[in-house]
Structures are given as C-alpha cells and as structure tokens.
C-alpha cells in the first residue's frame, strides 16, 4: 500500500458527505454482486444510495463500470440528486477487479491525487490481444503500478483474486473486504458482513474471502514482499549416473559465472532429453563458442548460446512428447492440479495428431530422407497415420504405447529428425560465429534468433520460415553499425503476429535502404 498525501482533498461544500464510488470489473467477476452489497451496507446505515451500471453485452467478458453514490439521509427525507455515471476527476473510491482495469480507470481520469482511494487486485485476466501474440504480448503491470502510485491519493493493491480462490469464493467478496479494510467508507466491519449474510448465497466462503481481503487492505505490506526465488531442479537417478552427472556439473561450475547461470539448466535440459553423453556434446559446443568469446563483453555470446543451444538440442519430437506424457511426476502434477481426492478416479485423454513428417522423422536418417522425398510414400504414411488420435493414457494400451515410444531415446540419434536438427543447429551456430569477428553484437542477436523456432507441424514450419527470413534479412544489414539493432527489431517483429505482417514491414524497410 502507498499513501499519497501530497494533495489535500477538496470536499465540495454544497455536497455534504456525498461519496462517489466506481467499480471497474471484467465480465463474470461479480461486479453486480459487489455493487449490491455496497448499496445494502449504505442503506442499512442511514445513507441514501443509488447504483447504476451498463451491463448489457459487457457481461460477456468485456470491461464493465458499476457506479454507486451515497450520502447521509437528511432528517426531512429529501432525496439527494445523484449522478448516473462516474466523471473524470470526481471519484472518491475506485475499485478495480484486475490490474489493467486499474490502468483503464487511470486512463479514464477516474483516479486523481486530490481525492481517489484506488483499491485494485494485482492479478491479471489477460485480454485476447495479449494472448494471441506468438511471442510475449503480456502488458506490463509495473507500469500501471507506477502510474497508480502517482495518480491515486491512496493506493491499496493485492492479489484479491488469489485470496478469494484460496477461501473458496470469488473476487467480489475479497474486494468488499478490501473496501471495508481500507476504511474509505464510514461503516464498520459488521455492517459489511451483515450485507453478505443477507445476500444468502455462498455465505461462508464469501465471509472468509471478505476477511482475507479486509486483512490484506489493512496490512498490505505482507503482499509487497518479493516472491521467493524459484527453486532449482535437483538431479535424481541411479548412483552411477549421478556420479557422472556431478562431473559434468563441475565442468559447468568452472565456466564464467554469467555463462554457468544458464549452462546448468541447459545441461539439465539436454541430459533429461537424451543422456549424459548428449550433455557432453552440449558442453563441447558451448566450449567452442566460449573459445571465441570476449570476457570484456561479459561473455554475452556464450551466455546466449548456453540457452539457445540447449533449446535447439532438446527439440520437440514424438519421443520427447511421449516421454514427458508418461512420467510419474506428470501423473502427480495432474492429480494435484485437478484437485483429485482419494475416492475419485481420473480419466486422461491426450490429443495427438501425427503427420507423415513425424513418422518419416522417426526412420533412420537415410531411409527417412528417401521416404520424405517420395510423394507416394508420404501419401501412404498420411493415409496410415495422419488423423486425430485421442489416447486414453489412463488405460494400459494407450499408456504402454506412449511408454514404448518414450523409450525410443536410444534410437533417436539415428533418426532423420535428429539429423535435420543437428544440421540446422550447426548452420545456425556457424552463421552466428561467422559474424563474431566483425560484429560481436550481431553474432549475439543471431544466436537469439533461435527463439523463433518453436511449435509443432505447421507452427514449427512457420517458425522455421520466419527464422530463415530473419536470417536472410540480417545478411542485408550485416556490416552496418546498427546491424545488431536491426536484427533485434526483425526478431521482435517476427514474434508480433502469426502471418508475419510486422516482419514483412520490417524487411520492406530494410530493403528500402540496404
């Protein structure tokens, strides 16, 4: 919580005791219920109150404003004239049920330093526009937090959604608690709890969430504590393998610190993907990069290589998918996430759709390459394999099938897919290191371009094609002072939309001068 006392509030002389409260919620969050509770509290405590909203189609996940005004009821029973909508610069209490909605309330001018208490939940309900970006399109909550600290007279923020869920309720209850706890309204805690009890639905859960919200608003410093650093994965397995692992691990420890930081998870990833020997190959590749790196530049090149070589080596093939789907840790995780109890039974359905390419990829490299070049064989494979498969992985037949495929790791190095991946990896590394002598920063950016290769089937093909186009465009700018900057821009453009429109634009720009 921040308390912003830089501005003295200016009460309206002619408007004795009026309180203007707006709620900005996402459809389905119970903004209407919260509004009803607040109205009930006000009326039960001798206030005249009026609420309005524009629910309409906005119930369907859109952003919705609810608005309440209240004033002490005069003895003569005269009714105050209340407004039906919040106005910019004229809101005393702003409650927002999501972080970006807090941002929206600031944009709309409902939060001002002279009067507004802003109570917001810090959790995110991502908008479609944020989710559909092929890269990372999530809006920056920190920017909103920073703006809120300036815009609000008083700012109370906590993850009220988490508090509600933890207490088996919904966010409207924890936000009512926060409102009560903030003391922004002249009513006691009992009054709010009475309103919840009068509501009659899910009372116990609502009261628990209310209490949690109340406490969070009163002692929000606990909310501000930084989250504990993520726990690092630990190696498990037979003693002999563990001993070898520790040897590899000590090789990582000997690397320069910035490199080791990413090389350890990288090594874990590739060893988990294949075996210890594969881990040695990883370290050898890394050493080759390190030999050409520059300590004065903080080993940026090797650090990035540690990350992306690991990702490239642990490619997504059928064997990896089957392996991950049949691990004991996965069963345990799903049971936990689904809230499975002893008396329940869990049925699991996996959705697979193998294509001829995946099947050919499992064949020995030479044979696979011949099959892949032969349309007849490919159409035959399509006929045999290319269809959606729903596997009930809790049944033995499906589980054992997946288990056997997951056990094909010994076979993997001989496969066509492996050969293709290795070739791609070698080309990409060679290309990056080729730029190393003339333009260190560009080499680093080329390493980072590996981020573009991801997904399965069409998505994977699209990723590869974007990667190729970015690499080709980089060749056009290589040699310029700002080449690295352009490489970064190209990569970011490629991650912005599915079809690559932004990337097309960036390439057009480059062609206009290169």
């Amino acid at each position: 919580m921040t308390l912003h006392e830089g501005f003295t509030p200016r009460p309206d002389a002619a408007l004795g005791g009026i309180i203007k409260l707006a709620i900005l919620a996402v459809g389905g969050q119970g903004g209407g219920v919260l509004t009803g509770w607040i109205e009930a509290v006000a009326r039960a405590n001798g206030y005249a109150a009026q609420a309005t909203s524009v629910a309409g189609v906005s119930q369907r996940t859109g952003a919705t404003v609810y608005y309440v005004e209240m004033a002490p009821m005069p003895a003569d029973g005269a009714m105050p004239v209340f407004s039906l909508q919040p106005a910019a610069g004229d809101v005393d209490i702003m409650v927002t049920a999501e972080m970006m909605e807090a941002g929206r309330s600031i944009i709309r001018g409902f939060v001002t330093p002279d009067r507004t208490t802003l109570i917001t939940s810090t959790h995110r309900a991502l908008a479609v526009s944020e989710k559909m970006v092929p890269g990372d399109g999530i809006a920056d909550s920190d920017e909103v937090m920073a703006a809120a600290a300036i815009a609000a007279r008083r700012f109370i923020a906590a993850d009220f959604d988490r508090l509600a869920i933890a207490n088996g309720s919904v966010i409207s209850a924890s936000l009512l608690g926060a409102l009560a706890g903030s003391g922004a309204l002249p009513f006691g805690r009992d009054a709010y709890e009475a309103a919840i009890r009068a509501g009659g639905k899910g009372i116990e859960g609502s009261l628990r969430a209310f209490a949690a919200g109340f406490e969070a608003a009163q002692a929000p410093q606990q909310q501000d504590e930084p989250a504990a650093p993520p726990k690092a994965p630990v190696a498990k397995g037979p003693a002999a393998l563990l001993a070898q692992w520790h040897r590899l691990q000590s090789r990582v420890a000997a690397l320069p610190a910035p490199v080791a930081e990413l090389a350890l998870p990288g090594l874990q990833k590739v060893v988990g993907f294949q075996n210890l020997a594969y881990g040695e190959t990883y370290l050898a590749r890394l050493d080759a990069v390190l030999a050409q790196d520059d300590p004065a530049l903080g080993h940026a090149l090797t650090r990035e290589a540690a990350k992306y070589i690991a990702n490239a080596m642990a490619y997504d093939d059928v064997i990896r998918v089957a392996d991950l789907k049949t691990r004991g840790s996965r069963s345990a995780r799903i049971a936990r996430e689904m809230g499975l109890r002893d008396q329940n039974v869990l049925q699991l359905t996996e959705f697979f759709h193998p294509r001829a390419e995946e099947i050919a990829g499992l064949l020995p490299a030479r044979l696979g390459a011949r099959v892949q070049a032969d349309p007849k064989w490919m159409s035959r494979l399509t006929r045999w394999f290319d269809k959606g498969r729903r596997l009930r992985s809790d049944s033995l037949t499906a589980f054992v099938t997946l288990y056997l495929i997951g056990g094909l790791r010994f076979w993997r190095p001989r496969t066509l897919r492996h050969a293709q991946e290795v070739a791609h990896l070698d080309r990409w590394l060679a290309l990056a290191l080729g730029y190393r002598a003339t333009d260190y920063a560009l080499a680093v950016e080329v390493i980072r371009c590996r981020r573009l290769v991801k997904g399965y089937s069409d998505t994977h093909a699209r990723g590869l094609s974007k990667f190729d186009r970015v690499i080709d465009a980089i060749a056009l700018v290589a040699g310029r002072d700002d080449a690295a900057d352009w490489a970064r821009r190209l990569r970011e453009a490629a991650l912005r939309d599915e079809e690559g429109k932004a990337l097309d634009g960036a390439i057009q720009t480059i062609r206009s001068f290169a």
């Binding site: 309206d12 996402v26 309005t52 909203s53 524009v54 629910a55 309409g56 369907r60 996940t61 404003v65 004239v81 407004s83 039906l84 106005a87 610069g89 004229d90 970006m100 944009i107 001018g109 908008a127 479609v128 989710k131 559909m132 092929p134 890269g135 990372d136 809006a139 703006a147 300036i150 869920i165 498990k236 397995g237 990833k269 988990g272 075996n275 997504d316 998918v321 991950l324 049949t326 691990r327 069963s331 799903i334 689904m338 499975l340 008396q343 329940n344 039974v345 869990l346 049925q347 699991l348 759709h353 294509r355 809790d394 049944s395 589980f399 991801k454 399965y456 089937s457 998505t459 991650l495």
Partner: protein, 715 residues
C-alpha cells in the same frame, strides 16, 4: 429460461398502496404498468429492457390474476402491431423493446398505429441504448416520434419520476388519442432507488372481455380517404389536445430562480448529469436546488411553445442540453424563437459535441463554457482561471489492452468460428456477412470472421447481391434468435426464392442468448406457456431449402470444418444451410452445475471434465489461442530461465467444452492439451480397475526413472 430469474423480485410487484418499492428502474416500470390498469403487455427482449421482459415472464401468475395478457412477441414489429388492440377498445396496452433497433423494426406498425389513433392508452417503452456500453448503431428514437406523430416522454432518471411517467403516458395517450413512447436510457433502466407504491389495478375492460364484443370502425383503417383525414386529425385535434394535457398536468418541470438572465433547457434524462455539473461548479446543492433556472422537458415531443416562451421571458441566454444528433429539439426551439422575432441567444450544439454521450466531463466542460459566455460572474474563481498544479500521470493508453466483450468460457460458437478460420486457410478469405447476436463476437480477434451486420435476421439477406455465386460462395452467419425474429422470411425465403448459391450458417444455441437466454421457437426446453422444440431445419425444408446439414455438437471442430467445406464445394444448386447446434454454455452451466453438485453429494457417479496443458510440451507460440480466445485459456510465465515466451495455461474456470483438444487436432497444432475427467463416486469395478492400472503404470514409471537421470523441482 432466462439468464436471470426474477422470481424473488416478482413478489415486489404485489406491493400495495403506501408501501415502498426499492430496486431497479426497469422493475419499477413493470410495477407502474400494473398500478395503471394495463390490459395487455408485450415486447421483444434486448438491452436494456430485457429484464422487463424477463420479469413479465416470471410474473405470469400475477398477470393472470389481474386479467392481463402477456405476449413474448416474435419481434418488435409484432409487439408494436399488438397495440392495435387499443385502437378500438378502451384498453391500456404497453409494449417494450430496445431503441433504436426496435423502433426501426417496428416502424411500419408504429406508423399505422399513429395514423389510426388510439382509444385506450398505448405505451411503447423504449430502452434507449446510446453511448458507453451500447451494442448497436448510434442513433435517436426521437426521429420516429416526429415523423409518425406520437408523443415522446423522457422522464428524469429516478424511480418516482419514471413510474409517474408511466401514469402520465397512458393518460396523455388517452387524452390525445395518440400512442406515447416512453424513453428510458440504459442507465435509468438499471438505476436503483425507491418509490411509494399503489395498489395494482385490474383493467377496466380485459382483452378477453373485449373479444366477446368485437368492434370495428372503418374510419380508423389506414386507407384513403380515411388516412388523409388521420393526417389532418393529428395536427388539428390530437396535437393541441396533447399540448393542453402537457400544460394542464405540468408534465414538464421548472427549477431554480424565476428571474435570471440565463437558463438551461434539458431533456428529462439529462437532469442528473446537468445537476452534477452545476454541483461541481458550486451552483447547485446536493438536493438539486439550483441557482440556474432549468426547464426540464419530461416530454421531448411535442414541444409546447407557450411554455417555452414563458421560460425564456427575461432571459438573454439559453442552453439546450440534448444528447445525440441531429439536434431536433434545438432546431424546433430556434424556430419558435425566430417566429417570435426574439433576440435571445440560443446555445446548444455550438457548445456541446454534436455526437456521442454527454458524459460527466462533457457536461461539466460544456456548461462551464456556456456560463463563461453567458454569466462569467457566476463561476467560481477556480473555473475561470484554473491554476492548479496537477501531477503528470503517465500515459497508459499504449499499455492497457482493449477488452471488448467476447464469447464466454466454453461457448459453443467458438468452435464454429475456429472451423471457419481453418476453412479460410484453405480457401482464402471469404465474403462473409453476419447478423446480430453473440456470434457477432466472431468478427473480433482472434477470429475476425464476418465483415458486416445489416440488422437482426438480415445476415443472409445482406449477402443477396452475391447470391448468384462466383468463384467462391458467399457465406453468411445468423443466430437462432435472428432466424425466428425476422430471418426466416427476410433472409431464407429470400435465398430460396432467388435460388441463392450462397452458404448460410445458423448458430443455434437453444436460446435468444445475447439478450439473456430467453426461449424461442427452437429452444429445447419445456416451457409451460410457450411452444418450443420446433427444429429450424423443419422450417427450412418447409420453404424449399433441401441442402440442410445439421451439426449437433459444434465442439467437433474437424466435423464442423468438413461440413463447411462441403457446403462451399458441393454441386447442389440452391442455398446451402448449416444448422450448427449446441447449448449456450452460460445457460447450460446455470442449469447443470447445481444438479451435478447435488449428484456428487448424493453419491451418484459424475464425470467432471477439465482441460490442462503440459507446460513442458507447450512451446509458447499461442496458435491454440488464435483459434479460441477462451477466457479460461490464458498464459503463464514459467520460472525456467531457458524459456522466453509464456506458455498456455488453463485455469479453474474451464468447463471442459473440448474446443482446445479439438482445434489442437483439427489444426494439427501440438500435443500439449489433455482432458482430465475427474470421476466422482466411481463404481466399485471402476475403482478396482483404476487401482490395478495405476499399479502397473506406477511400476513402469518407477522402472524407467530408476535407470535414468531426471531433473525435478522439489515440491
């Protein structure tokens, strides 16, 4: 079954004389109808008056007790036509629909009704949906009152005034033999407050009784020469009668000092906004006592010139507060002034913005600007010379994403649009028109399917120019609500008659879902007072459309895509129609969730499906989201330092509709989705089998784990 039940609120409709009603504006209107002896009510749902229809539906018992007939009309035209009962019979009738959509649909019936004139009070309650949150085109219902010559009430937005307007409306209608439109804005429909109730009143003549004694008078029929006489009657008799009634009963109100050099004329609906602006300028108190004279038009059509001139007496400046455009009231008042040779300065749209909602800020800025011109000495010093040092608040407009409404979690329409997006990947972009209803969200990202909406039930008709076909067939989308509203006649007979080569997709979710889940002809629910369960396909065959494909589980994206592809490529001549049916998930959950919970408590076997994502397998490309947009399918950032992009993640709100798995299959996306069905109260055999399988699977897992290295985060 409507989305919201008003069974509890219906009890408030029984309140008697001297009691206090507290609740929403729309409920207060319903109560006022009963207090004023209404004989029949009807209408068509749509924001913001859906609740009025839902309350009436839930109150059928009470209506029957009072002898009031209630119809859930097929559309607004049917509703307006129903008011014909008030033409010959002294029965009060009221219908309701949303403006301006409803007024447009109903205009034929409204025009004829206004020409015939009425004997019993006829009230058209229009929920004006203008400004923020509106889901329709922006225009004014006002024009319809003007062109057809019926009267328009726009009461101050509080419950006592709105309920009084119902009473005034009936009386005005009867006094002037003219239908009256009562306009309530979207916020007044949902505004809460209290008013003192009166006893409900049975109609003096019920529609049943009237049916026993039929009446007709050809002078009321809209045919020449009677229609010419109606036109004269409107101007010579009805209009002056209305003016007299408005003056005698003081339907318009004046507030503030009698003597002042300036004044404000406003629509009743603008009153609270104007008062708030004056309050903020220090010119009014909490209770609306104002230092600026106000002339509040609770009747915005017709305007009474004598009353207007009386208000203008001694004033130099007048401001007209009239939301929306064109500025009909301002033009009329200007004419009044001009005809009188007045030198008074009339302000309005020269200060206020021509278009858009009069928000708090607009109201404050405009009224302050008016006062600066007309009487600067009235303004507080702060407004005249603002010199406050405001902190610079960072601009968040680039950060905060827009959040338009979209399909609900588990919506059965989502997979239809996923399938359409997949088909367009094969065919290239198609010419697609849409209709009105939830399905219109398909035109937003991530689907962006559909490029036009011409009105309710007009989706396929909007493709008529392309009916002749071409290289690729035109596609249109319409909902089941739109189909029964107007679509069967305007869209499908049009297609059939003209031998259209087009494809039409009817999105059948068992309800008029966008307006709140009301039952319609093809609803699958039992409804004691309505005829349901009439398949859309039967209606199509009845008008000679034979190429009809019914998809009974829209969640099967692959099948949906194949059917679409077939419709686009088949050699069959004539319209190709797909009826894609699955129940609205919002309504389904509301019905089934409590039943499932009860079954679990009672020890019966229940499967609860939910989807999940294996985050190690998800590569963070979000292709699945581009075929979904489901609120429960979101993203999460991993703690893994090797991962750049957030991965897909499904939260607890998932209802297990299946779209995620289906698109992953149909679009060949990735194998990271799984469906987990938690079986509550499994059978003993099922439980034994699961234990036995679990042991073998566990043994296999342990066996492999013992031979390899794995890296796991300790729990």
């Amino acid at each position: 079954m409507a989305e919201r039940s008003f069974k509890a609120e219906v009890e408030d409709l029984r309140l008697g004389a001297g009691e206090t009603f507290t609740g929403e504006g729309i409920l207060a209107i319903t109560k006022a109808l009963l207090e004023n002896g209404v004989g029949y009510v009807g209408g068509y749902q749509g924001a913001p008056i859906s609740h009025l229809m839902d309350v009436l539906a839930d109150a059928e018992e009470l209506l029957a007790e009072l002898g009031v007939r209630y119809e859930a009309n097929a559309n607004e035209a049917a509703a307006a036509a129903m008011l014909a009962a008030s033409v010959h019979y002294p029965i009060r009738g009221a219908v309701t629909f949303k403006g301006s959509v409803g007024v447009n649909v109903a205009s034929d019936a409204l025009a004829n009704l206004a020409s015939s004139g009425v004997n019993g009070g006829a009230l058209i309650i229009v929920g004006e949906d203008y400004g923020e949150g509106s889901s329709i085109m922006q225009e004014r219902s006002h024009a319809f009152a003007m062109k057809s010559q019926f009267w328009l009430l726009d009461p101050r937005p509080n419950l006592p005034c709105i309920t009084k307007a119902v009473k005034d409306g009936f009386e005005l209608s009867e006094a002037s033999n003219t239908p009256v439109m009562l306009m309530v804005r979207i916020r007044s429909c949902h505004v809460t407050g209290s008013f003192t109730t009166r006893d409900n009143k049975r109609p003096a003549l019920s529609v049943r009784e009237a049916l026993s004694n039929p009446q007709s008078d050809f002078a009321r029929v809209v045919l020449p020469p009677m229609s010419f006489a109606h036109e004269q009657d409107k101007v010579r008799n009805r209009w002056p009668a209305a003016e007299r009634f408005i003056l005698d009963h003081k339907l318009n109100e004046m507030f503030g000092p009698e003597k002042a050099p300036l004044g404000i004329i406003l629509q009743g609906g603008m009153y609270n906004g104007v008062i708030r602006a004056l309050q903020r300028l220090g010119l009014a108190d909490l209770f609306g006592n104002t230092q600026v004279p106000l002339y509040v038009l609770n009747v915005t059509y017709p305007l009474v010139s004598s009353e207007f001139h009386a208000f203008c007496q001694g004033k130099d400046h007048i401001l007209v507060v009239e939301e929306g455009q064109p500025e009909f009231i301002e033009q009329q008042l200007s004419t009044f002034l001009y005809r009188q040779g007045s030198s008074l300065r009339l302000h309005g749209k020269d200060i206020f913005p021509m278009a858009g909602e009069y928000t708090g800020q607009v109201m404050l800025d405009s009224i302050a600007a008016f006062l600066k011109q007309a009487a600067p000495e009235m303004l507080p010093a702060l407004v005249r010379a603002p010199n406050e040092d405001k902190p610079r608040i960072p601009d968040l407009t680039k950060t905060v994403p827009i959040r338009p409404p979209g399909f609900c979690t588990g919506c059965p329409e989502r997979p239809i649009f996923a399938a359409m997006k997949l088909v367009q990947k094969e065919t290239g972009k198609l010419q697609i028109t849409a209709d009105i209803g939830c399905h219109l969200f398909g035109s937003l990202p991530p689907f962006e399917v559909g490029g036009a909406t011409m009105g309710y039930g007009l989706g396929p008709a909007a493709n008529a120019a392309f009916d002749g076909g071409g290289e690729r067939r035109p596609v249109s989308i319409i909902g089941d609500g739109g189909f029964w509203h107007n679509g069967l006649s305007s869209s499908f007979t049009n297609m059939a008659f003209n031998k259209s080569d087009g494809v039409a997709v009817i999105v059948d979710n068992y309800y008029s879902a966008a307006t709140g889940g009301q039952d319609i002809m093809s609803s699958r629910a039992d409804n004691p007072t309505k005829a349901t369960k009439h398949p859309i396909s039967k209606a199509l065959r009845g008008i000679g459309i034979d190429w009809v494909r019914e998809v009974d589980r829209t969640y099967d994206v692959g099948h949906m895509r194949d059917v679409l592809r077939e419709a686009l490529t088949t050699d069959t001549p004539g319209p190709k129609v797909i009826v894609a049916s699955s129940e609205c998930m919002l309504n389904k959950q509301r019905r089934e969730k409590p039943l499932a919970q009860q079954a679990i408590r009672e020890g019966r076997r229940v499967e609860a499906p939910r989807f999940g994502v294996d985050e190690d397998i998800c590569t963070g490309d979000h292709a699945c989201i581009r075929l979904s947009g489901c609120p429960s399918l979101s993203l999460k950032r991993l703690d893994d330092p090797l991962r750049d992009d957030p991965v897909a993640s499904i939260d607890q709100s998932c209802v297990g509709c299946g779209n995620c798995g289906e698109v992953a299959d149909a679009a060949v996306l990735c194998p990271s989705f799984y469906r987990a069905d938690v079986v509550h109260n499994p059978t003993p055999w099922e439980k034994r089998l699961a234990t036995w399988r679990g042991r073998i699977i566990g043994w296999l897992q342990a066996r492999r784990a013992a031979k390899r290295l794995s890296f796991e985060v300790p729990a």
